[in-house]
Amino acid sequence: MSRHASRAVILVTASCLVMFVWAFPVLWTLLTSLKPGVDVLAYPPVVIFEPRWRNYWDVLFGPTSILPHLWDSLAVSVLATTITLALAVPAAYGFARLRFWGRRALGFYTLATQMLPRIGLVIPYFLFLNRIGWIDTYRGLVLVYLTFSLPFAIWLMVSYFEDIPREMEEAAFLDRAGRFRTFWYVILPQVRGGIAVTVIFVFLNAWNEFLFAVLLGGKRVQTVTVHMFNYVGIEQTQWAMLSAAGIIAMIPVIVIGLAGQKHIVKGLTIGAVKGGGRR
């Protein structure tokens, strides 16, 4: 066997192993979601069984339907994403183009928001939202999510804007586009990749969020992650139902992940090679 071929075999084996470790819980959840209640905790685990779609039916249309909660999650995530984009894109453009004191502070603040233990912020957030009467509302949750997603999105978008040479704008000015149309027709289309990455990260972050959703929302606004928690009871946990709900909640994540795959990888590596691969 040539060195090339053996290398390939090792690589593929290693990838499969890593994939399996990652995919195992997902697959397990998928299997569980299709099992009748009695099989869920059977030992040794039942691997071959007749799939039972009933769990999904119950989760979707049963007495405690997941549907309104899917809606809550969607509303909060879409709102958080939209507002983040609307504010972060122009802000990042400003940061990238105008050199001012906030430049370095932004990087630090962004890192800080990602590093701080979120549980430490729950009480101040609660007191604040309570004071303005926004507890358990869409706008309350969205506001809290914005405090994390905005700095992150600005920080991410700045690197995309910085990759665009200044001459691009100057050419557009001379082409009589003016400042706004230069931004709209010349600059914005060139950061589409960055916008895609921002949307994915911000949306998924809001969609998957649990801690704030349960403590600052929970009754009138109950997102999917919080709702799923209801299947965990004191007397028994409805594992099959919980799994079915989990799979349903995963679907948008997977769809967005697949759709944005190309951009996500680029987003993770941006800045690794200055100006690499663009222009």
């Binding site: 040479p165 001459e167 691009m168 100057e170 050419a171 557009a172 000015f173 001379l174 082409d175 009589r176 586009a177 003016g178 149309r181 027709y185 010349v186 289309p189 060139q190 222009r279």
Partner: protein, 354 residues
Amino acid sequence: MSAIGSVRLRDIVKTHGPVVALESLNLDIEPGEFFALLGPSGSGKTTTLRIVAGLEQADRGTVAIDGRDVTRLQPGDRDVAMVFQSYALYPHMTVAQNIGFTLRMVGTPRAQIERAVREAAARVKIDHLLDRRPGQLSGGQQQRVALARAIVREPRLFLLDEPLSNLDAKLRVETRVELKKLQRALDVTTIYVTHDQEEAMTIADRMAIFIEGRLMQVGTPEAVFERPDSVAVASFLGNPPMNLVPGELDGRTLVVDGHHITLPHDHAGGARPVTVGIRPGDVRIDGEGLPASVYLTELLGETTIVNLRFGEQLIKARLLEKRHLREGDEVRISFNLPNVHLFDSASGERIALA
């Protein structure tokens, strides 16, 4: 000759932080001229172009185009088009969209844009590439797209910022000929920034020499080359550069390295130290004259550059004929006296004839 496209710069001052980019610049460019701004990097030539374009604001002074003060106008309102060194093509648009963008921005009807784009593209021979994107083009093709984008709108002024510097040597020489023809055909005033003196000399009607933020001299390439106003311009122009040796001038007598030379012309002013400038082509190696020794010869194909040790100095001579000179050979050199340039040692300025 065109009647529009004059530029007048008055007392332009520009600083970048502590660095003086331009100090009190006055410059007039006539309609229809192909005008080169020539200088080493950091000399202020690009800053001048950008101030004319409106991409930079001068700290002081005024810019007028065709008699209209445009100092405070936005770049888009000055009716000028520019080709950038990097071309700055819009990567997400096709070639046709790139060229037509400026027309679209002023609401030109679609059919008219299409026609204008086609014409402009045909002029620079890229009409077969209209549906491509810039990323799919070679450097030379991109350069043509940038040109087409500038000519499509028929501006008052073309501003070209080192437009050929990203092309390889052969293409650069071809393109500069085409550029000159294009400018003649369109009859549009063109300001051309370059650090390549050969490019400026061959292409420009007139040129301005910038050194360290100062405009040193303006004139036709011939005039500037043959009568440099100062040591700085003299030593910047010419390849290899002019030989500069210290000497002593008194009327018609020049003393160089202890040797007395009688000049064909008289010079005003008393005896004084001077800098003597002699172009390598004006140094002759023949049987008589001043003693020198061969230091190194550089064969350049058609010509040979001979580096000579002359007293304490190293000077270069350009020989058109083949000569077998070896290092260390003792030779005699003489200067083509009518072409000897004399500069005041203290001020560096050219010394006038009496």
